[in-house]
Amino acid sequence: MLHLSGWQIRTPTNLTRFVLLALLSVGLMLLDARGHHLQKIRAGLTVLFRPVQILAAIPVRVGGWLVELTRSDTSLRAEAERLRTEQPILVARLQKVEAIEAENAHLRQLLGTSALVADRAVVAELLEVTSEPLRRTLVIAKGGKDGLYAGQPVIDTYGIRGQISEVGVLQSTAILITDPGHAIPVQVNRNGLLAIAFGTGEPDTVSIRYLTASADIKQGDLLVSSGIGGGFPFGYPVAKVKKIVNDPNELFLDIIATPVAQLSHNKEVLLIWPAKSSLPAVTKKPADIKKPLVQKKPAEQKKPVEITAPAEAPRPATAGPAKPVEGAAP
């Protein structure tokens, strides 16, 4: 019991406190989810609690460092040898890519669609922290000052990993394509059949929904980003079809696919800035074709970072921006 200028104020009971804080939580959630009004507060809090994340990342860093330290001479030699043999093959393949690029641009010019343009890519390090249970996220050690933006595609050397969901001051959060709140427009590489790949929350699974039994899709088909919606550029590998179940009682096929990107590897990722594609019906001259503009730190040359993707062909006018879906509606 408190006495305040003649008034008697009861100290709040456990239940009162709980009810008040529960209401406050609900208010916060509504503000955060519905209107995104808490961006600044969240950014500030993230900076404040960054030391906790750095502390949590130490064991893995130290572990990796110890592994490097104790690696035997022979294994290093073997790796150097492997890289030495791999490199000429990759370079040779690259020569062909350039020729194909030029040819593709020429053909596109003949067709009157926009030309091949290169995407810009930057290698970004990850902070080794794990995501919330039931979700699939990454923390990237780059923020708004590096030019990151929400919805930016995140890839690795194998394919698309996800997209940036939140840009902070010093770090950003990316959600993976396996996150239950994520969906990405894809097409079957073999025949251009359009579909959407939804995250499930399982580590290495995406599900392809809303395809009927008549759809031409087979086990082992490669799914690439379709570029519809404009969030992800066209042509990056996303997943491989693993299993197709056709239940006659269901309206749609139940299709499970495995992402081709190495989603569980906590190393670096590549952030790409999709090239500004000209809108349909604008033709570019072959002279406008730029070589892939790749920035990378000298210390991180382990990965081949050659990225080219053609700008989208004329887009359907109805496609909205690709972003994490809320609620799954076809």
Partner: protein, 163 residues
Amino acid sequence: MKFGHNTRARLTIAGSFLVALILSILPWPVWTEQFRPDWVALVLIYWCMALPTRVGVGTAWSVGLILDVLYGSMLGENALAKSLIAFMAVHFHLQLRMFPRWQQAMVVLLLVAANNLLVLWIKHLAGQAPATWGYLTPSIVSMLLWPWLFVILRDIRRHGNVN
């Protein structure tokens, strides 16, 4: 450094929560992820039971909010779930203290499961509900861990003379 008794008690409690928070975001191989116990909930239940005057709904809410920031989930999501745990643990702290260890573990199972179901429900409303059963395993792992964690935290409390 010399701290007063009160400050030392607070630092000990804050330290245990910090360790729990770090353990919550510490990376493990992906397949172990669904077996990750809810460290924050375990530490919270212990302190609510042992020192309900010091640690209660308010502490739970703050720690939950920090967890939301670290996880990048909706602000208030874990805060609400952890306040629920703290409310129940404080409400029943006298009974909990009298329970044998295995019975406490059963209560821990129920509390963590309630926490997880609440989080799942909120995620479902936000359209991010996963299509897995993985959300129930952490409560079982938390239950199995409780007896050991109880002993560790009790020793810390007695050794540090936290009361």
